[in-house]
């Protein structure tokens, strides 16, 4: 999931990083502003709840706070390789449902939605509408979608593999019911959800992406394991 402004920043980062790699020049401008932004104060919280790996899909919750006066929509640009379905959104402050619309290719251009990058035939964006933010106020929004991405979420032999980069500071991944963790490339704290699913919490205080690679295996019995002997 990407916010349009984040995409612009990422594009600037990539271009400037390439320039820096070629010439050793310092990174400047928008990238520098992004790198020096207050990471701890970012309020986005993303939860990936994995379905059975055979479906290559996961439920995704994305919470964020909008504080720009007059802002009345949120654009979620679907990552290449992923498809989004069943989008919904609600205002966490009131519980109210919000209008969501999935736009593809030309529909994005016709609706004059800025996705922070050139619109291509396979571009996909979910647009969430909400009442304009009033002066001095904020709104907290939750966007819920099902993502399908066979490349980043798959089954290899008898192992589940989840391989995805996270740019936001706070991300949670919940394994499907009946699966236990066998590997995590990035340090995470681990706990169980109330229904016994394994949950990993990643907190990245640095202004970079983390390449999360998870492996898990199915327990022989999907109920909780036998008591220790």
């Amino acid at each position: 999931m990407r916010h349009a402004s984040a995409l612009r920043m990422l594009a600037a980062v990539s271009a400037l990083a390439a320039l820096a790699a070629l010439g050793g020049a310092p990174l400047l401008g928008e990238d520098e502003a992004a790198r020096l932004s207050n990471r701890a104060a970012q309020d986005r919280d993303i939860v990936y709840s994995l379905h059975d790996p055979g479906a290559h899909s996961f439920l995704l919750h994305h919470d964020y706070t909008e504080n720009r006066e007059g802002m009345d929509h949120y654009v979620n640009v679907v990552r290449k390789g992923s498809t989004s379905s069943k989008p919904s959104a609600n205002l966490l402050d009131t519980g109210d449902s919000l209008e969501t619309r999935t736009l593809r290719g030309e529909e994005i251009s016709k609706a004059k939605v800025d996705i922070g990058e050139p619109v291509k035939p396979d571009s996909e964006a979910v647009v969430v509408r909400f009442p304009p933010v009033k002066k001095g106020r904020t709104v907290r929004i939750r966007i819920t979608e099902t993502y399908t991405d066979p490349k980043s979420y798959r089954l290899e032999g008898d192992e589940l593999v989840f391989d995805r980069s996270f740019g936001r500071p706070r991300n949670t991944v919940i394994l499907p019911a009946g699966w236990y963790l066998t590997a995590s490339s990035i340090p995470a704290s681990v706990s169980e959800t109330e229904d016994g699913r394994i949950r990993l919490v990643f907190v990245n205080g640095r202004p970079d992406e983390i390449a999360v690679l998870l492996h898990a295996r199915r327990r022989l019995d999907t109920s909780k394991a036998a008591p220790a002997r």
Binding site: E192, F202, A225, A226
Partner: protein, 219 residues
Amino acid sequence: MASEAAAALIYWPALIPLFLSLTLFAAAGPAAAPAAAPQTQADEYTRYELLGPETSSFRVVYDVTATSAGATRYFNPIRKGSEASRESVNDRMTGESLKFEVVSAEDARATGLADAEAGTQYIRVALPRPVPAGGQVRLRIDKTYRDPVSYFREGDEIVFTRSLGIKRNTIVLPAGYELTRCNVPSQVLTEPGGRIALDFVNSNPEAATLTIRARRLPQ
């Protein structure tokens, strides 16, 4: 000789500092033993291998580098509340076993560890060579701790809870157990034998107050 004596007389003001020093030395009474240089170390890493939970025991493999120039001994504390056994020490440069003794704090203090803590026992390792100036002696201290307060069973889970002062750590679960909780962000890996291992680097200044829970997998 006569001329030297004459020179001393001629330059007698130069002897005043020496005279003052001797006077102060006499006033201070018998000479105190020179204070031992504090023990220093680097590159510490600990691997904890949890043994069968019924034993409340875990193996501790501690890699440490002695860096106090001239030191001929290295002292490793045995944590209070932990009962140590199966100790061995190796020189990591040569792989050779090193001699060691378990000594009291008093013994440790008397033989080089000035700040040995009362009531604590120490593994006193005889270093295979004095730590060279600007150099180091790399050690591996292998021991097994029994500590029912740190490692115990609770319901259908096992719990390993311990304050870890060393910054780099690996904790290996017993065979056949899955991880259900870990409060310190850690990598999770599967070792070649199939055991789940947690790996973390504590970048905070204080010790990591680690708690791990694990549950036996269905057979």
